[in-house]
């Protein structure tokens, strides 16, 4: 290596190329892993029907009081159970809009889910202490509740909430258990897969008794009420192969019996496939951009090697005169290019592993370095060194020894 600076600068090209391949893939993988984890948390064997507030009519805007009635009904629930025999379990739930209170601590907008015992298994969640709702809670329409981690923490700090009484609206509910938060996919990533809602659970019949279907809200002098029988029907499909069929049939069924588009069907499995496709496109695009920078690095290497070969023409002539075969000359220059590109590749891998950490630290964007990324990036960079080194080396080896010796 006669020219340390020149070699160093050339290596930089490969270095940045390699590190950008790794960094881009890590950011892409991180984003898609987060998306996939969130989708999986909904249960890949589930079909979720949700009530959706239909688009508001313009001429109703003048009314000061109105009741908007929409969404899924108990009839929908029965239809699902009757029409889809392979369905495992159908879990209805309704959201109740009330404050949650314990002593002087208040949560103004908790997500109060009125549901049935099957919710736990179908949604794939787990109890962390006490128990979840049971059939006897249902039949007795008991005033009991199960707290999500956040609600338990906000209302009880570090005390044990079980056995205490929480006030929802005007009524008191006994705390019978708490449940685990949703699984996080990467404990390093803040916000990744974390529970964002302050959930707590009560028996559906209890909600019917105390709160009915009506949720009221006051806004800018006008009084609004919404009447929704069920906010969600969670269908746990027994056989994963039936998921897509049931999803399509559900859409057809809801379409037939609902005049308005006041529902949606969410299929985590479909979303997963979609996410995977998006991820593939994302990876190809990012990979291509990074690949181009590697290519540029390779061209830089070729450029420098061509200059080196010209500069060392005389040396090539000498070596050839003293017995070097063409392949000896090829090997000599190829080794040099590979040293340059592999050197760049190694530092590039190091930098490429560092960049995602920095990105994650500053932006809270989750990143994920898969084992393949550095291997791929390193192999490509070494390969590029060989590829772009071949031509200069070939040129060196095919010089006429007599001409080369005469070169100044």
């Amino acid at each position: 290596m006669l020219h340390k600076l020149r070699s160093g600068l050339t290596t930089l090209g490969v270095l940045f190329g390699t590190s950008s391949v790794i960094a881009m893939l890590a950011i892409g993988e991180g984003a898609s892993a987060q998306a996939q984890e969130q989708i999986k948390n909904m249960g890949s064997q589930n079909v979720i029907m949700r009530s959706v507030k239909p688009l508001e009519d313009q001429n109703q805007g003048s009314q000061t009081t109105r009741i908007l009635s929409y969404g899924l009904t108990q009839e929908d629930r029965e239809r699902v159970e009757v029409n889809f025999p392979s369905v495992g379990r159908v879990v209805p739930s309704r959201l109740v809009t009330q404050e949650a209170r314990f002593e002087d601590r208040v949560i103004t907008q908790p997500r109060i889910v009125a549901t049935i015992p099957d919710w736990l298994t179908v949604s794939g969640r787990e109890v962390s202490a006490g128990r979840f709702l049971t059939e006897s809670d249902m039949s007795g329409a008991k005033n009991v509740c199960v707290l999500g981690t956040e609600v338990a923490r906000d209302l009880f700090l570090f005390a044990n909430p079980i056995g205490k009484r929480v006030k929802l609206g005007a009524d008191y509910f006994d705390v019978i258990g708490t449940i685990e938060p949703r699984m996080r996919f990467d404990s390093d990533a803040p916000g990744a897969g974390e529970e964002t809602t302050k959930e707590l659970f009560i028996p559906l019949p209890t909600a019917d008794n105390w709160f009915g279907n009506m949720n009221m809200s006051r806004r800018a002098g006008s009084f609004n009420a919404e009447e929704v029988e069920l906010h969600e029907l969670l269908i746990g499909v027994t056989n994963i192969d039936d998921v897509i069929g049931i999803a399509n049939a559900s859409r057809e069924m809801l379409d037939r019996f609902h005049d308005d588009k006041d529902w949606e069907v969410v299929v985590p499995l479909e979303l997963l496939a979609q996410a995977e496709k998006t991820k593939r496109i994302f990876n190809i695009v990012l990979g291509s951009i990074a690949g181009i920078s590697l290519l540029v690095g390779g061209i830089g290497i070729m450029n420098v090697m061509l200059a080196t070969v010209t500069e060392r023409t005389r040396e090539i002539g000498i070596r050839r005169a003293l017995g070097a075969k063409r392949r000896d000359i090829v090997a000599q220059f190829l080794v040099e290019t590979v040293v340059l590109s592999v050197g760049g590749g190694l530092f590039g891998v190091a930098l490429g592993l560092l960049i995602p950490k920095i990105v994650q630290w500053y932006t809270d964007m989750p990143t994920l370095v898969t084992l393949e990324a550095p291997i791929l990036a390193f192999t490509i960079s070494a390969g590029i060194g060989v590829l772009f080194g071949i031509y200069p080396a070939w040129r060196a080896s095919h010089m006429d020894p007599v001409d080369a010796l005469r070169h100044e």
Binding site: R314, I318, A321, L322, G323, K325, R326, V402, L405
Partner: protein, 259 residues
């Protein structure tokens, strides 16, 4: 036989040309030219750098090649050294028809049987003296195990035992040429080829180098050197005078026969 070193041998009148292409001695031939031509074509112009040459170089002979500039001396040496191929004719090295050999085989021949010494030394700048001397061994298909020992010994012989780890740029011209001579000897070649080896050196240093050649000759090495100085050419036993790509004359100098 003329013995006057100041004679302008390159311009001998044609009628006095005496061609004895082969010494006819009983030593084995090392290199043999039969009808060798080397023609350079540039557009529709032809330059006959070598024009139908028949020659035999025998083992232990000490040749000089002299002639005016452009007469084909270097071309002759390049063909002898397998760096260049004849356009026509046969060149045998050690009994082998080089026309039948591919590039790799010629390279191997160069690394085993030939030693080169150039006017501009042609050492590899980034290698030290010892490594420069060992370069020819680097490319042999099974290099000798005692290569380094040999190189050290030869460095001692040319008086550079204290400079083994010096780079070429730290040496004088004479010293560089000694390194080149040691390098030309390291593979124990059949023939040593030198093109204007003293061309860049002052007369004192040239004499030292030529004395080295004489010594090697006495040891039985086959040497062919090119020069354009008549006085230098007289150091050899056989002087080949070239003109216009042809052999004009071959003379034997009146030197005492070697012991």
């Amino acid at each position: 036989m003329r013995n006057d070193p100041s004679a302008v041998v390159g311009e001998a009148p044609l009628e006095r040309i005496l061609i004895r292409a082969d010494s006819g001695s009983h030593a084995d031939p090392v290199a043999e030219f039969r009808g060798v031509e080397r023609v350079y074509r540039m557009g529709n112009q032809e330059v006959r750098a070598l024009d139908h040459i028949d020659l035999v170089f025998r083992k232990g002979e000490y040749w000089s090649i002299i002639g005016p500039s452009g007469s084909g001396k270097s071309t002759m040496l390049n063909v002898l050294g397998c760096l260049d191929r004849p356009s026509k004719g046969l060149y045998e090295l050690g009994g082998e028809d080089t026309g039948l050999l591919d590039d790799d085989a010629l390279s191997e021949l160069r690394s085993r049987r030939l030693g080169f010494i150039f006017q501009s030394y042609n050492l590899i700048p980034q290698l030290n003296v010892l490594d420069n001397i060992m370069v020819p061994l680097l490319y042999q298909s099974n290099p000798p195990k005692d290569g380094e020992e040999r190189a050290r010994h030869l460095a001692g012989r040319v008086g550079l035992q204290d400079r083994l780890d010096h780079r070429p740029r730290e040496l004088s011209g004479g010293q560089m040429q000694r390194v080149a001579i040691a390098r030309a000897l390291v593979n124990d070649p059949d023939m040593i080829l030198a093109d204007e080896a003293t061309g860049n050196l002052d007369s004192q240093t040239s004499r030292e180098i030529l004395n080295l050649f004489d010594e090697l000759h006495k040891e039985g090495k086959t040497i062919v050197f090119v020069t354009h100085e008549a006085i230098v050419s007289e150091r050899a036993e056989r002087v080949l005078v070239m003109g216009d790509g042809r052999v004009c004359e071959i003379r034997e100098t009146a030197k005492e026969p070697r012991a």
